[in-house]
Symmetry: D2
Subunit: 215 residues, 4 copies
């Protein structure tokens, strides 16, 4: 049986991925913020004592509240450095991904088109994407695929917090709607179910044609 | 029943996509080079008289033989301009994609990391990727998803033509092997089967962690 | 004395480059559309009979009128394929750039963030950027630097044609103004004057912080 | 008289920039590591008490020794998070750049094509590039240009430390040589001297045609 650990697995995109992986009989540990809060490195280490290996790992965590550059404190930077970057690094340094496995990173489309209100997220998620890209070549030797999914506006609680008028905002989007978490869940499931391995070292915008950069 | 037209559908990646779509009961027209050769615009127009609409369209065609810049003739440029770019433009100007449909473009990883031996392919496939990106925003209004798949080294006849010593070449790749056409076929199938629509306007490297650019 | 050929050198950005190179005593041939129209390959060939070598080459040409995808005719595609792509290829296949020289390509910021109204320009300028990138590695062996300058909104006649209300448009720009052709002219001059050679194989957005893509 | 602060201004690229700015009569404070070590945030704050404003700011610092992912300690991550990212953020939050000024960031070509041995540098320099891109739009309102220069292999002490056999390495480069710090120094000088302002929000690879990504 295939095992999976999904961080941030109790809500939003993480929950959708957990449920779609369960639907194909994966043994999923859907970690809530109570199980592991990557902004607290002590907790991360404890988590790693209890979870030493997995077939599938989904690195996923919410971002900070919207805050513009000049309002960000040193504590903010350090907290989200842990949450969005360093916690994930410690996990990958220690956890064993079994041969033939998968690592999915749920980042954000702001890594490619950064957003002033999400500057912390833009910065640290980009930083971790660099690490993830480099490691994808190592993991490839063990037939482990590393897939960076960069969602645009998805229908989650977080989006509703960030956007004032969701109705109006949706009209401005190419598809006239937010994406559904289940679409990302199904996408992850489909890759695993079909044993697609050659998709690796890639960043996939998942944003309903919303981005403007050519690639 | 979902209809699909797959250009270059009789061999390699196109064939794998055709077969995977058939496996989920799509009504697939797997067009061979005898049915439509996009380098001949007259034939393209005839094809469009016979094929006026579809739910799924896969824009796919082989590239030219490897040729370095100073050896390329004006005729070469014009031929592949038609085959890799203009033929596809004429098709999209005329064919009707039904609401909720999909357009898959099979381009190449050389659009992002261009290759001197594949300079024609790098140039015209990049050009068409620009067109495709722009159009993705229009198609989004009709809930049509546009997905640009950019394969790296895949196990096809063409790769065997281009690479002298495939055995040696494979050792140089992160996964130690070429990708299989079926992996791309299954990827396309999985998107359609799971009705994943919010993946659009995106270029997806499919290269086994071989590329070096961060995104 | 350093020789320079500047295509489209009688107006706009090309003129500004011509004049700034003259100011540092380059022997500049500022080619007008009467001297060479790259959409006419016969004229391109004649031009190459008369101009066999240069120290500095500036590949520059205006783009088409704004036209959306479904209005573009086969003749349009073919004309601008010549003007924006094939004419430049024929020039580089034939002209000799002297050792230690420079090739500047004036493309457009739409190659990275394509524009529906400038779809032809987005496509063919991107295509030629691929060729130029590949060739930069060859030219490097002869200490020739290849620099792709991708202007955003610049204060030229062309911009005034494309934009309805220039006053309003300027307010929407980060710097509150269009760029001046002389800024690009001075930039080119400064590189040549200071013998900066290691800047090569690069695409430089010149757009007053207007683009949104991270790199 | 134009004032300039150049971090890491006592050696390598920073020194070359300092000297080229002095040559055009800028009043340059070439800060050595003794003046400000951005890995020590207390020192950064003291520095900011003494240096409250400038016309030109050059954000420049060496990177860590080469270290692969699994050897990097938590202390390493935190130290270089400060040195390459957070120290620069604190500076920009506090220092006043005078209207019409310039901020140059000296990052590295590894932000676009990350390097396993320089994984820390790839990550944190990319993170800061996100911040810098976002801020470029704000600074534009005060006519301040933000230019991110991403050097490839440059002839500095650091490169000699990182590369085992520099002679051999140079042969592998397109230009057959490392770049000279003075080329970057002259580039910065030329932009300032010619009052080129519309070049902003841009990342400029400075690598002698060595990178492979198209843009």
């Amino acid at each position: 049986m295939t095992s999976a650990i999904v961080l941030g697995g109790s809500r939003g995109i993480g929950k959708a991925i957990s449920e779609s992986l369960k639907s194909i009989n994966c043994d999923v540990f859907a970690a809530s913020k109570g199980d592991i809060d990557t902004s607290d490195l002590g907790i991360v280490k404890k988590f790693l004592d209890a979870h030493k290996e997995t077939d599938i790992l989904v690195l996923n965590t919410g971002g900070p509240k919207a805050k513009e550059f000049f309002d960000i404190t040193e504590d903010d930077w350090n907290k989200y450095h842990n949450q969005l970057f360093l916690g994930f690094c410690l996990i990958l340094q220690k956890i064993r991904i079994n041969e033939g496995g998968y690592i999915f990173l749920i980042s954000s489309s702001v890594i490619k088109e950064p957003n002033p209100k999400l500057i912390i997220s833009s910065a640290y998620r980009a930083a971790f994407s660099e690490v993830f890209k480099i490691l994808s070549k190592d993991y490839a030797k063990k037939n482990i695929s590393c897939i960076n999914i960069a969602p645009g506006p998805i229908n989650t609680d977080r989006t509703k917090e960030l956007i004032d008028n969701v109705e109006e905002f949706q009209k401005s989007l190419p598809m006239g709607r937010l994406g559904e978490p289940e679409e990302i869940g199904n996408f992850v499931k489909a890759i695993v179910e079909n044993k697609i391995k050659y998709l690796s070292g890639v960043t996939i915008n998942f944003d309903g044609a919303n981005s403007n950069y050519i690639f």
